[in-house]
Structure formats: structure tokens, C-alpha cells
């Protein structure tokens, strides 16, 4: 369908964007790259009379790395910048992989990671790895600043914890410490322009030959990205073997809650969680920092 008529406001500051978003609560939508927002407007999934473009706001387009702490990814950092950032590829390659999995080369040059999570699609490719990494969403609302742990950010399909006037300025991701590793795998039919049938993220902390701690996260198999707590429990305290990975995979597949749709059946998604849990944990363990 055609794009409906709306007011377009190019915000000059976070405060201006936040103020307007609050005034227009429910009727305004924040736009960065626009690769999701424009489609949702065309398809009448969101009804907004005002589109607030934050691309003109300064200070939101940096990938900042602070040794000993982690990364701060600004709200305007594109997926392409993330996939090709030297520091990300070196210190957190799973995030570069996740960014690279999204849509197509053209869309990744416009679309942002923050947009990807604010769209809150259950199959968003950057969500599982952020969840596995215990990321924190940085938010401004007027003069107020708040941090939302990524585990509390997703509330449902296309639903987040954001309140009217909330503008996400960026995401903080803790760095991988020594003996920690992470990985993300997407399973889709085609190698680009496809939504994940499942996505699995993993973070592990090793102690000698054993798993000291880990987080396994699953995309595309619930209304939000999910943690596979039982699978994590199976791994923690044990040495990685094929049998243990299989047990963890089976546990994760029992924890996911997929639906059947035109892209894949619940049965297939469930088994792919088993397969990719094994593969993601294995890769995380093989690529320790």
C-alpha cells in the first residue's frame, strides 16, 4: 500500500525528540534508519501521524570501546558499521556476525542495531546476542536518563519496555573477559533477505576445562527472545563433550515456545534450537577471548 500522510520532524536534540514523542504519545514514531518504520507505516501496522527522525542528533553514531568495561553502540550506528568495525570484529565477533545476518547489504547501510531491537521482532538477529552478553539499553526521557537491562527490554511482539518520550540513545555491552567467549547463529532458508527460523546466541565463561557460567539465548521461538535456563544449568560445572552439548540442545529445545507459520513449523524450529544450541555453545567455547 502507499505510504500514508504524516508530519515529518527532524529533531535537533534528544530533548526535542523526547518532548515531542511525549506530547504525541501513541501517535508518534521514532525513526533512525527507517528500514522497519517506513514498512510498518505502509502496511498500516503502526498508525502514526508524526515521524520523528533522530538522524540529525549529534553524538549517537559512535562505536566506543573502553578497555576493561565494554562497548557503547550509539543509536545511529548502522548494522553495516557494526559488521565492519575493526574493534567489534576483534573483540566481539559474534555481534559483527549478528549484524551481518540482518536483511541485505543495502538495508544494513541504513538500518541500525538500536532500530533492530526497538522494532522488537521475535526473530531480530541482534537481540539474542545482546541478551547473551547482558547488554544494557541506555534511554533518555526529557532530562531523565535510565538504564534498561536487555532482559527486561522485550515485552512481546513489537512491544518493548519503552514509555512515551523514551529515546534509546545506545546500548552498552560488557566486553568479553579472559576465558569468555560468545557466538550467534541464524538459521534461515536463504543467506540474505530472510527472517530467522531460529537464532541462537551463547556466552560462556570457562574455568579450566569446565563451564563456569553461561547464557544461551533463543530468537524466533517465542514472543520475545528467550533464555534457555535449563540448558545453561546442564552446562555449568561440566566439561564440554558432544554428549553434554546434545543434552543442552535437547533442554533448550524443550524450553522454547515456537509457533508454526508460513516460514517454518514449530516442530522444525524446536529441533533447530537443539542443533544450533550445540553449534553456538561449541563455537563460543572454541573462540575464547
Amino acid at each position: 500500500m502507499s505510504l500514508p500522510a504524516f508530519d515529518y520532524v527532524k529533531a535537533g536534540s534528544l530533548q526535542e525528540a523526547s518532548q515531542l514523542a511525549k506530547e504525541k504519545a501513541g501517535k508518534a514514531v521514532i525513526m533512525a534508519g527507517g528500514t522497519d518504520v517506513i514498512l510498518l507505516l505502509k502496511d498500516r501496522v503502526i498508525a502514526a501521524d508524526t515521524v520523528i527522525d533522530i538522524k540529525g542528533i549529534e553524538g549517537l553514531n559512535e562505536i566506543a570501546y573502553k578497555e576493561g568495561e565494554g562497548f557503547r553502540i550509539g543509536a545511529l550506528v548502522t548494522l553495516f558499521e557494526l559488521q565492519s568495525s575493526e574493534v567489534i570484529k576483534e573483540k566481539l565477533p559474534a555481534l559483527a556476525d549478528a549484524a551481518h545476518y540482518v536483511a541485505s547489504a543495502q538495508i544494513r547501510r541504513k538500518g541500525t542495531m538500536v532500530g533492530n531491537i526497538c522494532n522488537a521482532s521475535p526473530s531480530a538477529d541482534t537481540a539474542p546476542i545482546l541478551l547473551a552478553m547482558n547488554a544494557v539499553v541506555k534511554v533518555v526521557n526529557g532530562e531523565e536518563k535510565k538504564d534498561i537491562p536487555i532482559g527486561e527490554f522485550f515485552k512481546g511482539v513489537k512491544k518493548t519496555a519503552l514509555q512515551p518520550g523514551d529515546i534509546v540513545t545506545g546500548v552498552f555491552i560488557p566486553e568479553l573477559k579472559k576465558n569468555e567467549g560468545s557466538a550467534y547463529f541464524k538459521h534461515a532458508v536463504r543467506k540474505a533477505m530472510d527472517l530467522a527460523i531460529v537464532g541462537v546466541g551463547a556466552w560462556v565463561k570457562m574455568d579450566g576445562g569446565k563451564v563456569a557460567d553461561c547464557r544461551i539465548t533463543m530468537g524466533g521461538v517465542g514472543i520475545t527472545p528467550l533464555r534457555a535456563y535449563n540448558a545453561e544449568k546442564i552446562l555449568i560445572g561440566n566439561a564440554i563433550t558432544e554428549e553434554l552439548l546434545e543434552q543442552a540442545g535437547v533442554a533448550a529445545s524443550q524450553e522454547c515456545k515456537p509457533i508454526s507459520d508460513v516460514r517454518a513449523s514449530a516442530e522444525y524450529r524446536t529441533d533447530m534450537i537443539r542443533v544450533y544450541t550445540k553449534r553456538a555453545v561449541k563455537k563460543a567455547v572454541e573462540t575464547l577471548a
Binding site: 532458508v189 536463504r190 540474505a192 508460513v262 542443533v275
Partner: protein, 819 residues
Amino acid sequence: MAQTRNEYWSEIRSVYKDPKDYVLAGRGNAYVRIDAEAKVTGTAVYTDDVYLPETWYCKLVHSPYAHALIKSIDFTEAEKVPGVKGFLTGADFPEGHNLGNPEAFKELADKEPLCRRKVRMVGDEVAAVCATTEEAAEEAARLVKVEYEPLPVLLDPFDAMALDAEPIHYPADQPGTANNLSIFTVMKAGDPDKAFEEAYYTDKSYYKTQEMVHAAIEPHGAIAKYENGEYTIWSTTQGAYVSRYWVAWGLGVPESQVRLIKPMVGGGFGGKLDVFAHELCPCKFAERTGHPVKCILKRDEVFKCTRTRHPISFQIESAFSKDGKLLAKRCRHILDGGAYGGSGIAANTLSLICATFPYKVENIDMIARRPYTNHPASGAMRGYSACQVHFAHEIHMDEVANHLGIDPLELRHKNEITPYYTGPTGLEFTSCRFKECMDACAEAIDWKNRWRYPKGSGQAIGMSGSGFMSGTGFPVLVTPHYCSSTTIVRLNREGYAVVYTGANDIGQGCDTVMAMIVAEELGLNMDEVKVVQSDTTTTPWDAGSFGSRVTFLGGNACHHAVGDAKLKLLKHWAEEWGCKPTDIKMADHRVFLPGDAEKNISYNEACYGYEEKNFGRCVAGVGAYNHEGDKDVYVKNVGNYATAYSFSASAAKVTVDMETGAVTLDDFIFGHDCGRPLNIRAVEGQIEGSVLLGFGFTCYEECVYDKDGRHLNPSFRDYRFPTALDMPNITTKVCSEYDEEGPLGAKEAGEGSTAPVGSAIGNAINYATGLVIKELPITPERLWKALREHERTGKTEFGGEDLPEKFANMPPLPKRYNV
């Protein structure tokens, strides 16, 4: 006395360039497409780029029901939308003027421009809205209230054939006499029963292919204006003249009052052959309002309301001797025709002809039925019927080879069609390099060491072969001499030539081919040949882009036209110079008698001199190409179908992820016999596109419907054709010989090349997994399901499980067409 075809041609042929002197045809990288700059820079004008002052917009109202009666249409709410200028319903078009495809089978035309009383598929057009903006038209179309009375929905072609089925088109005279067959086709030769009785090996197998779409990047659309009693319409058509015929018929006006212009077309693949509501409604609105009116379909409308590829269910019986000689074939093909006929009615015949390719088989008993269902209408699609047929029959060929313990390549060689073979129903093969195609692929993929990938190891190679018609002679409309292509070439004294080609360039590059043929013969540069694109007012008759006919038939018409002009010019200078026309050469912009420095003038001088002698008349040539055929080839299935036949072979190397079912196509070798390639890069481009299409057909693409016939994935997000990143390395092996009848020796390279791809990949998957998959598409999930079931139960054959019972319980063929 009129010249015979042969006398006329042989005189023209006498002045053709000797192929050894060609500087463009067949040389790699010798020239680029004439539209390359416009397309690369984005300035090329497609239908949606045609802007006329004061244009208004049209939107169509579609049925949400797959099968229903229209009770009422209410425009009250829609009328209130600001900017709305008018509405159309079926009653605005002359009743009985249904749209179809071949004029010769006009009685089978079955599509009303807008449905009057009944809808037969979700998306069927019931009304149209005109407004000053596209947004207003869209809004108003949404507010049109249509009341329907739903009817039982028939989605399975076997259900649709049942005698107690709900009639889709033809009302049943009495209960239990329903006839939902759009068309059925019988092809018989030899004594198959005897051959089966005497054979060492016989079998019966079932296969099934899915519904897919053309997915041309440019959506269908049209813009029409009405001036001086004439409709002018720019449309995304594959055949301006055939479209013009049906637009005029649908409007109920003479063809002289409709001008159809084909601008650049962003891909057709067979999906833009038929005429649709989005072409007729803008014409009618333009006439009513005096404004130009544009209607461009959205992607979901293209999925629902245009055309799809026929899903086919196969029952194949074969008989072989102990040493692998194919003795007989019995097949039953059930083609899901969807809601309408159109270009789809040729699918049956093509499916049966293709079932005899690329092997010699003297005893055949083949029947194809095309029932109507409430799916979107199936139609022509690149590799028409051949992709489905060669998937089934070539997977079957490997099964037979494995049963007989003969190497699949050897089994193919034992039965391959050879040059100048005539098939049992009269198909006349000429040049044929099928053997060479197979051998080139086998060598490149290292077939003899194929067991380096053990069966079931997750990796394997597979091969297959196919044949296709090169130059479908059928002209669609009724023409003198079954003529289907004409061209005019004008030579200009200012140093250039103009070619008025009826051939419809839809992205495949035929405008470039025509310019090259003229440039080659006249010794001009490519940019000194100006091409006038297909337009029913400015260019002569041509049947359109379909049936792998454009280069062969259009190219020959163009070659004859430039030959006619050249002959006139050279006859004049032969007289001036006291020599024979055949002594004179044209090259490098010169006209000259080799070895005589005095008799050497520029092209401009040559044209000037001719005009001087002829009172200013310019040199012009007219060319045509006909294939002396008969529409009976579609009715009785005897006789020759095409002017020549192309052959292909494929070899695929795949890796299967045995845990997920994902298939990676690692390597693909394509051997193609296209005669002399006229543009090697264009041939490679066609083959690479064919591999993409075939890979999509095999492992990716499928239209999915719910039980009410609603399309569940009408978008490029959910209808997943492969992307560039999914494509393998492709090696093209051109295994050609000069075809005597082809233009500059060429045969087709765009359609036949799609036919063996699916079965090569399918055979490779079967060896990699140790299973036999008989149904498409082999998506990761389907393959995963088969692999898991195999682990549990040991079952090895998957797909088409419902078919044995369905084929066994088909009703007899109806009396109406009994043979």
C-alpha cells in the same frame, strides 16, 4: 508468378556475410547491450516511468473469496473519498468478450475483464476505481462493498476433476456430470502396450511439483490515454501485438483504434503474456474522463492476480530393455490450471512433448489434463512445462539407471537424441549436440570419480539432461502463412540504419541482438544501428516474447530484412560496377569490391548513390519469418512443433547439512547447445539466470495457501527465491554447432537452459542423502523431515505419497473431446 519462399530466401542468402567474416556474432565481449547505460544509470523508461500531464490513477477491487457469487457491489462509501472520479464493474465491458491467449482457440477464452457474476480465485478483479491520486484510489477501493455468496473451494486438481465437484466454469448439465477440465491432451505413437509386455524392466513412479511465480522485479502495470478515438496504452507486455488484440477485443473496439507501446520491461518470464484488468480498466477510464490513467500493481497483486507456474502431478511408467534401451513411456500429467486458461492452455502439449526429450522413445502413451481449480491462474513460465517435466522424468532416469545397474550417464547416452532424428509424432530435430553437452558436464564435474562422495555422506554430484523447442512457430494470432515475426530495416545516407523490430525486448536483450545482426550484415558499428522498440503503430507484426522464439524467429526476420535491403543496395552497385552483387562486400562502414581500390566507397555514398538512381527513395528491406506449422500440433499432437531444438545438460555438486536439511549448491556446470552464440555474455547471463531459477524451483520457492485459497506468502520476504549469496560458482560450457536454419546459426539460450537444473540438483541431493525425493520444493524443513523419518522408519522415498490413489481414482476423460 510469385516467388517461392525458397527462391526468395536463397537470393537474399546469397548476399549474407560469410560466417568466417563475422566480427560481432560469436565473439566474446565484442559488444555491449545497447540499453546498458540507461539501465545502469536508472534512466531507462519502464511503464511506471511514463508520466503524462494530468494523469489519474486506477486501483482494482479484488475478491477475498476463492470461489463465490457476486451478489451486489456498493460504491456509496467509496464515492465519498475526495478525488474519486469513477468506478467500473464487469457491466462496463461487452459481455462475452472474454480474455484469452491464442486467437485460434478463442472459444477457450474464459477471463472477464472484471468479474460479472462469479469470482474464481482470491484476487479476482470485481471492480475498479479511478481517482486523482493513487492514495485516494487505494482508499476508495478499500471502501467498495461487495457482497458475496461463497461457493465450495476446489484447491486440489484431483478434487476439481471429480464428477460431483462444484463447477468452476462450465455448468454441469445434471448432478454428477461436472467438467472442470480447462483442456486435455493426448499423444500416442507406436505400440506401447506391446513394448511394456516384452520389456525386461518396467516401473510406475509418482512425482509432484509446486506452484511458483515468475517474480519479475518490475510489477505489472499500464498507463492509457484516449485521443481522437484511439486508445494508446503503454504496458508491461511480452507481446505488444497479441496484447493489443485482446485489449481491443475486451473493450469491444477495432484493433485499428488501439495502439500498444512496450517500453522497457523489467522481466517477464512468461508472466506478462496475458492481458489483464489492469490494462483494460485504465483504457476505459481514460475514455470516460479524458485523462491519462495509470494502474501499477503492488507486489501482492502480482502474486494473486497475474500468473503462476503450473504445479504438475506425474504418474510415469517406463519400459526398458536389459541393456538400458528406453522402449516405451506411459505418462499421466495432471496440471493445476488455476482459475483461468490464457497462456496456460499450451501447458499440456508442452508437458507431453518435453516428456519425450532428450531421448529417443518410439512407443508412447501420454495424457495431460489441465483441470481448473480456485488457485490463481497458471500460465506460461520460462522453461514452460519443461522444468516440471524434466524434474520428474530425469529423477526417474537416475532411478532406472540404479535399478538396472547402469551408470546414469551411460543410460542417457544409450538413449540420447542424435542430429536429424525424427520423433515418433513427427518432431523434426536438426542440429543436436546433446551428447557433447553431457560429456562436457561429466568431465568438468569429474563424474567418473563421483563415488568420491559416498552415498549418504552429505555430499554428492548429480547430472541431468534436457531438450527444448527453439523457436515455437505458433503465431498466437491468425496470420498468413503462420507468420510470426516481421521486421523492417531502413538504410540512411547519413551513415546509419534503423531497425523497426516487432520483437519484444523484456530484458533478455533482443533489441541488442537485432542491432547486432543489422550491424554485422551492413558493416556498421553497433551505435550506427538505431532500434525502434515494439509499438503497434511504428513496428511491424511480431507474436511476442515466448516459446524461445525471439532470437530464432525475430532474429531471422531481422536477418531477412537487412538481407533484403542489402540485396537492393548491392544490386544497384553491381550494375554500376559491372560485377555480381555477391562480389561486393560491406565492412568497416565501406562498400567495396575486394581487390579493386577504385570500387570502394563509404556506406553513406553507397546509400546516396542508390537514392540518386531511385528518385530519392531510400533503401529499405522487409523481412519475415514463418514456420509452416498448424494449430493442429496442439490438437492432434502430431507434426513438428518448432523450427529447431536446443539441448542442455547440467551437473551439480551439493552439500547437505544432515542435521538441518539445508542444501548448499557448491558448484554447477551447464552444457548448452544453443547453435552459434550471438552474444556469449548474453548466453552466459541467461544460463546463470536459469541456474538461479532452477535452484529456486528445486530448493526454495513455493506459493502457500490456506484451506480457503488465501495466499499466505505473497511477498518477496516470505516467498523466498534465492539471492546472489545463495548462488554457486557456475561454469558455462557452450557446446554448439552452427544451426543451418538459425539466424547467423543460433538457437535458443533462455528457456531450455532452465530445464535440467532442478533434476541435476535433485539427483545430487538424493545421492548425498541416500533418499529419493520426488516432490518439490526440497526446502530445508522438508528434507529435515524426510531425514528424521528415514532414521526412525528406514523409509527412503519421499513425496507424492497421495498420488497413487488419486491417479487410480480419476474419472474417465470426458466425451466432449474424446479421441
